[in-house]
Structures are given as C-alpha cells and as structure tokens.
C-alpha cells in the first residue's frame, strides 16, 4: 500500500527518532511512503486560532499535494491529524471557503477536490495492514512489557470528528498492544491531556497534568508508556525530569512512540528505532517476558 506521508514539525525536530522509526517500520509492514517534503506545518493550535484562512490554506494544500499523487495521506501526530481532518471537513462544508482556497492554491498549480483519505499510522495498522497480517509479522512478542497507552486528545476528541460519547472508550491502542504481545493496563490518564499546547509559554500546566498521568500509569503497574503523538511524547519523556522535580518522586517511566513499539515487536532493535534519543532510558531486556 502506498501513502503520501506527512511527518509534521515535531518528528523532524524534537522527535526526529519518530520519523526514522516510522520509515523503518513502514518498510517492514510493506507500506510505501512518499514523504511530502514541500508540505508546511499544519499550524498547530495557534495558527488555526488567529488566522483561519491561512490555517485552512496550509492544510488543504497538504491534502492537495496527496491528491496530486493520487495517494491517501498518512500522519503520525495527533494535532496534525485533527488539523487536516478539520480542514477537510470545512472544505466540504463551506463552498465559498473551498473556492477561496483553491483560488490561492492555483498560484502553485494545485487544486483540491476533497477526495484525500486521511489516516493516522495507528488507523493504517487496522485499516490497511489488518490484524491477521500484523500478527503474522510479529517476530518478537513483547511479553515482558506492561504498557500504559497514552492516547492524548486530538486522536479521540472532539466528538464531532470521532463520534465517541465518552472518548475513554477508545480501545485502539490497547488492542494493538495485545496484538504485539504486551499487557495493556487501564489507568486514569489514558485519554487525558498532556498540556503540550501551552507549554511553549508556560510549562506548569503540562508538568502538573502529565505528572498525574505518569504516576497513575506507574501505580497500575505500567513499565512503559506508548503514545501515537510526538507532542505528548515531548511532555511525557522530554519534561519527565521537571515532572519528577515537581512531584518529588523518581518516576523513570520510559515512553515509546507508537511506531517504535510496533518496530520492537517486528524484530527491529531499540538502536535501529532510535530509542536511545529519548530522555528516559528504555531497557530492552524489559521486552522479554
């Protein structure tokens, strides 16, 4: 299966290991990725708030780039995923907006007709690879790992995009963890917010909120956390030292990107998956039951 691939800003800077791991794992899964190098940032939460037209233009442009290649779009970041989903919905909902954006994109010879299928890597595993094939590809079941799945927000809320009455019912990551041979656990932070989006101007919210989530995961026996979002990863892993200082406890909770967890089960080494770039050390011996 071939995808137009949009890594986003975080996977090309702070979480560069995610981009490397995704390419490796995709190759093992038989996914052919065409990275959209001329794609811009989707605008995070900031651009969409203060400059809606700019926001929609950049996002529809990404969708148009995929459409030009005739490929579905694969994302690996929650916030990017929601941004392109929202832009796609607004494009279909508002013909005036659609016309304005297409007129601007025409400068570059681009045009969007509303046909690009958008899929996060997590959904690609279920919808394009499939559970049976994934089970076949698992070379090294991760029976030693007790995993706390951390969904984050934008992959399961708002309800008008994902149709959950209560997003805590989302099971996609836990089921995947089982397929890969790990033991998933239930804890209070599963679908809570890491607080990333205000962290650039004030880290305190992120530190306080995420401190509770990691402590809850630890209390329920998790030995590793996994997240489908590099922004959540930045807080969970990158801020963990500051969180430890805030809660006055050693947490020492390794946090994996979703493709890294899949990669470990497919037989790739932590080094290949660049887990050594994380702030909290991950002990590969922990994967063996």
């Amino acid at each position: 299966v071939k995808f137009a691939y949009y890594p986003g800003c975080s996977a090309r800077s702070t979480c560069a290991e995610l981009n490397e791991a995704t390419h490796l794992v995709a190759a093992r899964l038989g996914l052919d990725l065409l990275q959209l190098d001329s794609a811009t940032c989707t605008g995070a939460r900031e651009l969409r708030a203060i400059d809606p037209v700019g926001f929609f233009t950049l996002n529809v442009r990404i969708l148009a780039l995929a459409e030009r290649e005739g490929l579905p779009l694969m994302t690996i970041c929650n916030t990017c995923t929601l941004n392109v989903l929202d832009a796609h919905a607004a494009f279909l909902d508002d013909p005036d907006l659609a016309a304005t954006i297409n007129a601007r994109l025409a400068e570059e010879g681009l045009r969007y007709s509303g046909r690009t299928r958008i899929s996060h890597f997590l959904w690609v595993l279920y919808e394009d690879i499939g559970e049976a094939r994934l089970r076949m590809l698992v070379k090294r079941p991760l029976s030693g790992l007790t995993v706390a799945a951390f969904y984050g927000c934008h992959i399961t809320r708002p309800p008008q995009r994902y149709k959950f009455v209560d997003s805590r019912n989302n099971l996609a990551l836990e089921r995947l963890a089982e397929i890969l041979g790990c033991r998933p656990i239930d804890y209070s932070g599963r679908t809570e917010c890491c607080g990333f989006h205000t962290a650039a101007h004030d880290e305190r919210i992120a530190i306080k909120l995420t401190g509770e989530h990691i402590q809850s995961a630890k209390a329920k026996g998790a030995t590793t956390m996994v997240t489908p979002c590099p922004l959540c990863h930045t807080v969970l892993d990158g801020f963990q030292r500051e969180i430890e200082r805030d809660v006055g406890k050693v947490l020492d909770m390794p946090v994996l990107h979703l493709p890294q967890l899949v990669g470990l089960a497919l037989g790739l080494t932590p080094r290949q998956l660049r887990i050594d770039r994380h702030m909290v050390k991950f002990d590969p011996r922990a994967t063996i039951g």
Binding site: V1, E46, Y126, R157, V165, A206
Partner: protein, 332 residues
C-alpha cells in the same frame, strides 16, 4: 488486502461498539425490573442504593426514586427535567452529564461536579462561575447608535455567537476542564464563563474596547485545546473551535500582547515553513530559556535541540510555500 482489515474510518472509533458507547446499545442493556446499583457521593462517603429499572429511566428518575423511597434527605438539584434549565448536571461514572437527559447505567456512581465547592451531596456552589461571568461584562454595548432598522446582520457574522447562545450554563464543561482543576495555577477563566462571554463578544455589533477589556480577564491563551469541554457539552456547543478559537482571534486583533505565543508561531511558520520548537521557546521566553543550562545540555546530548538548525534558517520548498500563503500581504 487481507479480509480482516477494518473499513476506512472504523479504526478511529475502535471501542465504541465494544464498550457499548452507542445510544442503541445503551437502550437495550436493561429491561424493566432489573436492579440498578447506584452509588451516590454524600458527605460521609459513597451511599449505595438498588433501584428497580423502569423503561426509559433517566439518571434523574433514579435520583427521584432514591429520594422518595430510600433517602429522603438526599440533596440534588433539578427544575425543568428537559435539558433547558441546566441545574441537574452531575458526574456519572466519571463523566459530566445532565441527570435529566442521561439514560441510567446498570452500575453507576453519581458524584457532584468537580472544580466547584460542594454545598451538600450533589449540589455545588455556582458562585465562582457567576462571579467570573459578571466580571466579564457579558453584554452588548454599542459604540454607535442604531444605523437603521432592522440592523444588517448576516448568519455568517453570527455563526459562532449563535452557537454560544445555546449554552444552558450547566457547568459540565467547567467540571471537565483540566486547567480549571489545577486551581489558581493560571488565570484561565474556564470554558463556561468564556462561552457566556462569547455570546456577546462574538457579536460584530459589540464595542471593541469593551470586548478587549473582557478578553484580558479570560486568560484564554491558557486553554490547552483538549476538547474535554466539547465532549461533555449537552448542548453540543463546539466550545474550542467555535468559541475559544474565534475569541483568541479577537484577542490577537484587539489585545496583541495576549497572543504572543500564537503570533510567534505564525511568524516562525511563515519564514521557515515548519516550527522549530527551540526558536519558538527562545522567542517567547527570551534569554531566560537559556538560564536552565543543565536542561539545555541534556536536550542537546539527546539531540532534542539543534542550535544549527535553530539559528540557520534554510530556504526550502516548504518555506517558500509558507511565505506565499502567510507572507506580509496575507496578515490576518
């Protein structure tokens, strides 16, 4: 393609059906006469009751049954019973709902809303919310007299304000908000007061000076965009995308110093095409960002920061595209 793959769109909803998170599943889970276990948070802990299920039974019906048959001193609020007065909000199994609009569950724990002082049992004190709303001056003040009658006003201009006007002030969102749960850590006013403000602040006829004064009291840029509020809103108001974000846009125009973070991110994207997190942090915190040297070194060792990239802006196809669409002539 193997036949066990899910259909496009199904994976993002995994768990909905499995956990009976659909209306159809909820309505078939109980039949008349089934016992429901209800635990209610009271001053002395959780009190357990067994309520016989009646067809179409709501959480409010269960509370009424308890008050009539088991605990006449149970304190809870309700008035209209039809999703209009906004007084009966409680938390059922950890989720904020209107007692009058929620089907009972076979096993449920009913608690008062969070983030507000409890008066007794399920009744909370709404005073903190009401004080904040009054402070925000949520009314329409015209800078000029009426120009004509009827006033020209389009649906498009009122799109967001009219959604905010659906608010019944039930406090579900206020209880669900994680930033509010952190107490006075930030100056964030919380979703409910901000929606109340949005009803008039998003009205194009309102006086900009007054709106600016109100916005300064909201701490609106401390919203973390988690959508917890939207998830529980019984009126289905798009609180983040339809109220908070349009108000942020207003703040960026009227009180630019509030929107420093958003404007810095925009200008970084406009020149680089993507966000360099270090550049953003440096722009927002200035030299103080460098003061925590041990942290910077730790990040550097793991190559989480890349000073070369941060200080040396490269021209790329992405930066060209961003300049084209966010450049000077496209300032909002």
């Amino acid at each position: 393609v193997v036949s066990d793959t899910l259909l496009p769109g199904e994976a993002r909803q995994l768990g909905r059906r499995e956990n009976h998170d659909t209306l159809a599943a909820r309505n078939t889970r109980l039949t008349a006469g089934d016992p429901i276990t209800v635990r209610v948070r009271r001053a002395d802990g959780l009190a357990e009751f067994h309520v016989p299920y009646r067809k179409w039974m709501r959480v409010l019906d269960a509370l009424n049954w308890i008050a009539e048959n088991a605990a006449s001193d149970l304190a809870y609020r309700w008035f209209c019973g039809s999703k209009m007065c906004g007084t009966c909000a409680v938390r059922v199994n950890g989720r904020e709902v209107l007692a009058c609009w929620e089907a009972v569950e076979p096993d449920m724990t009913i608690e008062p809303l969070r983030n507000l002082p409890v008066v007794r049992d399920l009744i909370v004190d709404r005073a903190p919310y009401e004080r904040k709303v009054a402070e925000l001056e949520p009314w329409l003040e015209r800078p000029r007299p009426y120009e004509s009658f009827p006033e020209p006003l389009s649906h498009r201009q009122m799109k967001n304000a009219s959604k905010a006007l659906d608010c019944i002030g039930c406090m579900c969102c206020y209880s669900a908000c994680p930033v509010i749960s952190l107490g006075n850590l930030t100056d964030f006013a919380g979703p409910a007061p901000i929606v109340q403000l949005g009803q008039t602040a998003l009205d194009p006829r309102n006086d900009a000076t007054k709106v600016a004064r109100s916005l300064k009291l909201t701490g609106i840029f401390n919203c973390i965009s988690c959508y917890k509020c939207e998830e529980v809103c019984p009126a289905s108001i798009p609180i983040v995308s339809g109220v908070i974000e349009p108000l942020k846009a207003k703040a960026a125009a009227l009180v630019p110093e509030m929107a420093r973070h958003s404007m810095a991110l925009r200008s970084i994207v406009a020149t680089r095409g993507y966000v360099d997190p270090s550049a953003l942090v440096l722009r927002l915190r200035g030299i103080t960002a460098l003061l925590d040297l041990p942290r910077a070194l730790r990040l550097l060792v793991r190559r989480k920061i890349d000073p070369v990239k941060t200080f040396w802006k490269r021209k790329t196809p992405a930066s060209d595209a961003a300049a084209r669409y966010l450049g000077r002539e496209h300032q909002p």
